[in-house]
């Protein structure tokens, strides 16, 4: 408690200071968030969205993704990559400062990498562990040497890992109970009330573009209805929550509200245990994928606010998406049944097909009980499959219980216990094109491969792509990979929900829609 109040005091002092220094436009943004995000340090923030976005308002990265997801130099002035792709020589911008006034130097960067190597963090330790050595020839230069060439290092590492101040973290042995949050970003936390709100105040020492607000206050509103009612009555100015399809028209019609819409990268997929019975047969999976009416899902479930999925997984808006693998080849129920008969299945008494040994094409299909969109989609999918001679038993489950069957302990080496399951992959999976994680047969490389998919040819393409720095060559490999996915159907991608956000334009109308991620991102909170 003492530590916390001391922190609050020093934060309050900082706040006063920055208030005194900042020009007084008096602009405040009231932005509803979903839940408590802890003390909002790199180790204690809670959610990938919007927690990470809030974190990046307080902390800076060496690179920053622009609205097209291309990494641009941020704390870094630029980086030189050696010909072998192993060494990155990064020059920092001059005169960088932490919010408390201390200088931000190359040694903070080196410290950050070392700290994430020594203290495990799910997101930031992975890129940090790719680093073999860090040198700091002078205060403004960092030389990072990787263990192996990595085409994604700038995007997933330099543009993702928040740089932390050595003078604050040097003695912290238990980062998970860290309460002091000092960064170099445009805002700093000046008030935090558990489960109620955060107050972010402009950081007077920020080196970059001017923050768009003096103050951002983020009340925590847990209930969806209450969130949008608060937006309608003007109690808040914007919500990080996506507007559900049925509310979009109502908001668009309200004159003091505006709706921002763009492609979303969060994917609704059917993961399949591809090692199990008839599901191990890619031809059967192809028939299943071909029976699903994707347009109907987008039309009825998303009310048109979304994009249909394809066998190549990556959404059409993604730069690495192969244009030939954005649509599944489709079957009518009759064609599907005919195809099943060609494969040696025959129709049983109740219309469900059976193989030569009498095994029925009967599968349990898991879905999240707390996500209406996935639940509705699963019902429609099950109906499509039943018409094609399958028997599908739908089972809605609590989130953790579902994860425990599909992805026990988040460790694919522990196997799985399901037939088919709705799995919602968060935006970064598609945004960072983590096809390798989803498909490689090795438990470490393929750590998102929850279906047990294994194909040596695919493995070798993934391994080659991982060390290919040349952009054109890399795209070629990704296209080939997606072609393989269309042949094997390791998973079925149903759709990508659009990002739809509502806000009060009278308060602020300068939002940046980051592809696949929406309007709540660091760039939106800076003047341009």
């Amino acid at each position: 408690m003492k530590k916390v109040s001391k922190l609050l005091l020093s934060l309050a002092a900082l706040a006063l200071l920055s208030l005194a220094l900042a020009s007084h436009s008096g602009k405040t943004l009231r932005m509803a968030i979903l839940q408590d995000e802890g003390t909002l340090t790199p180790y204690t923030y809670q959610t990938g969205y919007p927690g990470y976005e809030l974190l990046t308002m307080v902390y800076d990265t060496l690179y920053q993704l622009d609205e097209n997801l291309i990494p641009q130099p941020w704390l870094a002035q630029g980086a030189e990559t050696s010909a072998d792709g192993l060494t990155y020589t990064i020059t920092l911008k001059p005169d960088l400062k932490w919010a408390d006034g201390e200088a931000l130097t190359a040694s903070d960067v080196a410290f950050t990498i070392k700290y994430f190597q020594d203290n495990l963090h799910g997101r930031f330790s992975t890129p940090a562990n790719k680093v073999a050595a860090v040198e700091t020839p002078d205060e403004q230069t960092v030389v990072i040497t990787l263990k192996a060439p990595d085409a994604t290092f700038i995007q997933n590492g330099l543009a993702d890992v928040p740089i932390i101040p050595e003078h604050v973290w040097a003695d912290v042995t238990d980062p998970n109970s860290m309460v002091v949050s000092i960064g170099s970003g445009p805002y700093q936390i000046t008030e935090y009330r558990t489960d109620q709100f955060y107050r972010l105040t402009e950081n007077a020492n920020f080196w970059g573009p001017k923050p768009a607000f003096d103050e951002i206050i983020t009340p925590i509103i847990k209930d969806q209805t209450a969130t949008f009612q608060a937006l309608q009555t003007g109690e808040i100015d914007v919500a990080v929550r996506k507007v559900s399809p049925e509310l979009v028209e109502r908001f668009a019609a309200q004159s003091d509200l505006k709706v921002a819409q763009g492609p979303g990268f969060s994917a609704s997929t059917i993961q399949i245990d591809v090692t199990k019975g008839a599901l191990a047969n890619p031809e059967v999976r192809k028939i299943m994928a071909g029976l699903i009416d994707y347009e109907k899902l987008v039309e009825n479930v998303l009310l048109g606010f979304g994009v249909t999925g394809g066998p190549g997984f990556l959404p059409p808006a993604h730069p690495l998406s192969n244009p030939n693998t954005t649509e599944y080849s489709r079957y009518t129920p009759e064609e599907a049944k005919q195809r099943l008969e060609e494969l040696g299945f025959s129709q049983g008494a109740d219309g469900v097909y059976v193989d030569a040994d009498g095994n029925r094409l009967e599968f349990e299909y898991l879905t999240y009980s707390d996500r209406p969109i996935q639940l509705r989609a699963a019902e429609l999918v099950a109906q499509d499959l039943r018409e094609g001679g399958f028997n599908i038993e739908l089972r809605a489950m609590e989130r953790q219980a579902l994860v425990q069957r599909v992805w026990p302990d988040f460790d694919v080496s522990k196997g799985r216990n399901y037939d088919m399951s709705m799995v919602n992959w968060s935006a970064p999976v598609a945004a960072q094109a983590r096809l390798g994680s989803m498909l490689h047969s090795d438990f470490v490389t393929g750590n998102l491969n929850v279906g047990g998919y294994s194909n040596p040819k695919v493995d070798s393409i993934i391994e080659e792509a991982a060390v290919t720095i040349d952009a054109a060559k890399r795209q070629e490999l990704f296209f080939a990979l997606q072609q393989k996915m269309a042949e094997d159907i390791p998973l079925i991608t149903l759709f990508f929900e659009d990002g739809v956000y509502a806000y009060r334009p009278a308060v602020y109308d300068n939002w940046v829609f980051m592809a696949g991620q929406g309007i709540i991102n660091k760039l939106s909170f800076l003047e341009r």
């Binding site: 495990l120 330790s125 709100f197 107050r199 009340p219 509103i221 989130r399 953790q400 988040f410 998102l448």
Partner: protein, 324 residues
Amino acid sequence: MNWYLGRLGQYAIVLVAALTLNFFLPRAMPGNPLQFLAGEDVGLLSPEQIAQVQARYGLDKPLWQQYLRYLGSIFTGNWGFSYQAGLPVIETILTRLPWTLLLVGTSLLVASLFGVLFGAIASWYRGGSFDTSSLVGSILFDSLPTFWLGMMLIAIFAVELRWFPIFGAVTPWGPKSGWPYIWDILRHLVLPATTLTLATLSGTYLVMRYSMLDVLGQDYIRTARSKGVQERQVLLKHAVRNALLPVSTVIFLNLGFLVGGATVIETVFSYPGIGTLLFQAVINRDYPVLQGAFLVLTISVIVANIMSDATYPLLDPRVRKGAS
């Protein structure tokens, strides 16, 4: 004296059983807290790294060792850190406790007062229009889903009429001290407390009503009336006082659940209480918080029971005689 000792012995057994359940029930749920221990991208970790995380929190130890550690921690007062918030469990509970006490306490008080009042009036004029309408009303509010009731109140009084705020316990950008601050807190309290009161009123009301009807049929009421005691006196001195006995038990029991919060209402109104803390902890498998919050709840229920047991003989001389 022996009677009290025997009771205390029973409570000790209940406490141990409850503490054991508090430990094992959360762990019996499928899933685990890994995602909140290692951050959101836990899927990227290698099996060795996952094992490392589990070891750091002692989750790799056999269950019985974890259990012993847990029992020890209860008495040392070191309840550990919330997996989710990274704050000491005691702190996460203490920051929410005042709000829960305010919300649940207010509505318990109001619901008890009105429950007793309505129950007494209804049974006194049994079969009258007040009796019928209050009975129907209480059953109606009891059967309405609480979240729906809350949302209706928000829609009418916060969105349409704009009399009250929609969410939270205070206005984040509002006053921070003095009367304006207290006024702000009260304004935020009205809708959730009203919802909770409406949802819980029927309990006290029904017990009071039936208890009164029972008492009114007793010989001593007839005796009192036949010896010419005024109706007012009969009602207040003879009927209500005796009818309050079972009601006091109900109120004491409710008092025990005071610290449990009101999950649904806290969610609908984004009120920062223990209820939503518990709910989030269940979803996230945040074992230390679950244990801590349930421990507080267990103790408070037991204390309320002890208080109820201890005061009952004071309220009712018959129990006193029977025990000695």
